[in-house]
Amino acid sequence: MLGYVIRRLLTAIPTLFLIVTISFFLIRIAPGGPFNQERGLNPMVKANLERLYRLDEPLWQQYLHYLGDLLQGNLGPSYNLPDFTVADLFRVGLPVSMELGSMALIFALVAGGALGIVAALYQNRAGDYAVVALATAGSTVPNFVVAPLYQLVFALTLNLVPVAGWGSGSFANMIGPVLTLALPQLAVVARLMRGSMIEALRSHHVRTARALGLSDATVVLKHALRGAVLPIVSYAGPAAANLLTGSIIVESIFAIPGIGRYFIEAALNRDYTLVMGTVVVIAVFIIVFNLLVDLLYAALDPRVRYD
């Protein structure tokens, strides 16, 4: 097991290296630069700035510098938010995004899983249809429609919650963003759980458990669920990486100080280091969560063995 983990982490290094290289050159070939503003800087000021940030060096030298800095854990300064380093921005924003994302993830997994089980137990009856309808709606309506409509109904018309803002993570501020983030994931989880639960309920070991006279709750929660949860585990990995690194739309609509909003801003402003930092952070999350999922899978399914 330990050997497997180490091997996986080692293969992550070339993947990460390739991602850094591709994105570094992609954003550098794009026309424009961080200091090409509309009004135009004084050429001498601009030259000084470019020298300060080593932007006047040949590209390959900048690339090597960036790799060197990255290996020491230095993500560099932000070009458009000059008082901050990229690491500073993440230190403030990442916890916010992660808090929001983990709430949404937990909500999606618990509520989606519960709804999926209910739908499977009441297959082709009213409860099932309600869950399927919710799942269809959740995966169809885009979040940039859900979020403003939520604000319109619950904040502006009914005055129940604040319209937007983080409010240092108060519950009323969290409801909207968490629901908006969770809804599409909840829909997928419910659908997956419904499908795999229906299959699990038909399996031999569940029939045996029933024949042994175990209670319904024990049969469903202990025997059927263990097999049925596997597809959700493999879905949860990428979903977690996605949710924890912040959503561009939800963070901008609800004015949340996470890292999701940096992405578009930084790409448009050619804030090279901030773009690279975001890419690296997201890629690391994806790689780590895929590894975690595989390990969890092995723990849950005795047929899967790594050596």
Partner: protein, 294 residues
């Protein structure tokens, strides 16, 4: 007259005629299709009947809510519903482009996929391909799209090419999986045993059997592409003024919620109902074309 002439043998039913009758029997898919047709017609010819250009602004009636009494205050229809309709025409035109993009994705996927299958036996090549896919999947998808938009400028034709350049990945995976399973079928082995060459097998057996999944996935891809376009437009990266799309309208509506919430509600309604209809059609097609999967 002989018996045979009196009762001509029933025409064999093809997969497609079978699928068509199954699709027609699916009420959700059928009405979704009707709805989409109505939406397309309304958006294509509706604007000619309102008598106002979509970009005319009536200064006196900027904040007048929509109503159904059109005359003598024609500007009221100019305010929201008809406005959404007229502007939707642009979205419809883009929608055609979306389809174009999907088709590009499909056509791009297939030759590449055949290459993948051909090289599949050489496992080192396969290993490298999977590494590349790994890398592409770990690259944040949005980053890729944004970079493409930044590169190509904001011309929307190029934007669709950019979207297609990203979306072919999934299509390629699906086609690859299908091809692999078709390749192992008995009828392919029989054809091989009869001496049919690989081009013949590809044309007669593999591609016809691939069409079903490709059509299904393409239908389900259209709503995804529309969402992606709306997403980009929402952030001002997509369609530019004076052109408009539902994503642009939703973004503008969101900024005007307190003053004029209908600016948000109508485009949202149009976008969501279209997406629902497309999804139902996709599901219906899946049930119709893939009877095993029911």
């Amino acid at each position: 007259m002989t018996e045979a002439a009196l009762h001509p043998p029933a025409r064999p039913r093809s997969l497609w005629s079978d699928a068509w009758s199954r699709l027609k029997a699916n009420r959700a898919a059928y009405w979704s299709g009707m709805f989409l047709l109505g939406m397309i017609i309304a958006c294509l010819i509706g604007p000619f009947f309102t008598g106002h250009a979509f970009n005319t602004i009536y200064q006196d009636y900027v904040r007048v809510p929509p109503s159904l009494s059109p005359y003598p205050k024609p500007d009221m229809i100019g305010s929201a519903l008809a406005d959404a309709m007229r502007r939707a025409r642009v979205t419809m035109e883009q929608w055609q482009e979306d389809k174009g993009a999907v088709i590009v994705a499909v056509t791009a996927a297939q030759p590449i996929d055949e290459r993948i299958t051909r090289y599949l036996d050489r496992s080192s090549t396969f290993e490298i391909m999977m590494r590349i896919v790994d890398v592409l999947y770990s690259l944040p998808f949005v980053f890729f799209v944004i970079m493409l938009v930044v590169f190509f400028g904001r011309h929307f034709l190029l934007m669709f090419l950019g979207i297609a350049a990203v979306l072919w990945l999934d299509m390629a995976r699906i086609v690859r999986g299908q091809t692999l399973s078709i390749k192992r079928q008995e009828y392919v082995q029989a054809a091989e045993a009869l001496g049919v060459d690989s081009t013949g097998i590809l044309l007669r057996h593999v591609i016809p059997n691939l069409l079903g999944p490709v059509v299904i996935y393409a239908t389900l891809l259209v709503p995804q592409v529309i969402i992606l376009e709306s997403f980009l437009s929402y952030f001002g990266l997509g369609v530019q003024e004076p052109m408009s799309s539902w994503g642009v309208l939703i973004a503008q509506g969101k900024n005007n919620i307190p003053a004029a919430n209908w600016l948000l509600i109508f485009p949202s309604l149009f976008l969501t109902s279209t997406l629902f209809a497309l999804n139902f059609i996709g599901d219906g097609l899946r049930d119709a074309l893939d009877p095993r999967d029911r």
